[in-house]
Symmetry: C2
Subunit: 153 residues, 2 copies
């Protein structure tokens, strides 16, 4: 049988082979979450990775960029970009490390801690909104499954 | 109390605030899956998005790039890049659309269908490997949760 030359414009596009993969379903769910997170963070002048970096700097005062990069599992060069953006916004300051003069210790400024507190509340609302279709025990099972998958890597 | 100037080098970096978010746990699990998927696809000369595009073209012969972009939820400009790569590898061909001369209908070549069949089997193994720490009912619950989250978007 010859392959049809053109997929019918009114036929649905089948992604059954991809849907069989749990990873593909996770990628699609993640896309929905990231789009909503971007809308949530935009009014604060933050994006997913600058928010995550600010969170770790607030929680771990004096953190060095190399450890921030490791904690976020991102390249050191990318972390420098996020830290630059946070510094330009006046939310993070760098001080020379007392242990290593070539390194810097990162601190959130008062303005940084304030914007983080507001953004964190908005992100917590976003996270609950994303889980609206799930019962509490389903959310708990989801957390367990995600942590097992991460731990298997 | 003064903020310490420097985070202790031997202290763990706390990400408790981020871990409270289901979305952050999903991002971390997704990172592990994507790294393993990249290693799985590399021997075939494929990456996550070229594999996904090839899958949809094999499953939907004659697909137009605009519908491929919509099915993958990626920008049309990005899909053109993936299709170019698949075409250069000799796995996909473009024919002028019979309905619209400015558009193209995408077809997998014989070589494209062959590499896809092998890559698909390797990706199915990768997906099962990622779920190794979960029982079958936990994987089923994970699928349901991910599809609910995607549907809520």
């Amino acid at each position: 049988m010859a392959v049809p030359a053109e997929h019918p414009a009114d036929a649905p596009v089948s992604d059954a082979a991809l849907r069989a993969l749990v990873g593909y379903n996770m990628k699609r769910a993640m896309g929905v979450i990231q789009a909503d997170l971007a809308r949530t963070l935009d009014p604060f002048g933050l994006r997913m990775l600058t928010f995550s970096a600010l969170s770790l700097i607030v929680e771990n005062p004096g953190l060095r960029p190399s450890r921030l990069a490791a904690a976020l599992s991102v390249e050191r060069a990318n972390v420098v970009v996020y830290v630059d953006q946070l510094e330009q916004a006046g939310w993070v300051s760098r001080a020379p490390s007392t242990r290593d003069r070539r390194a810097h210790a990162l601190q959130a400024t008062l303005a940084g801690r304030r914007v983080y507190a507001r953004a964190r509340a908005a992100v917590a609302d976003h996270d609950r909104r994303m889980m609206n279709g799930l019962r509490a025990e389903q959310v708990a099972a989801l957390r367990t499954a995600l942590q097992r998958i991460e731990g298997a890597g």
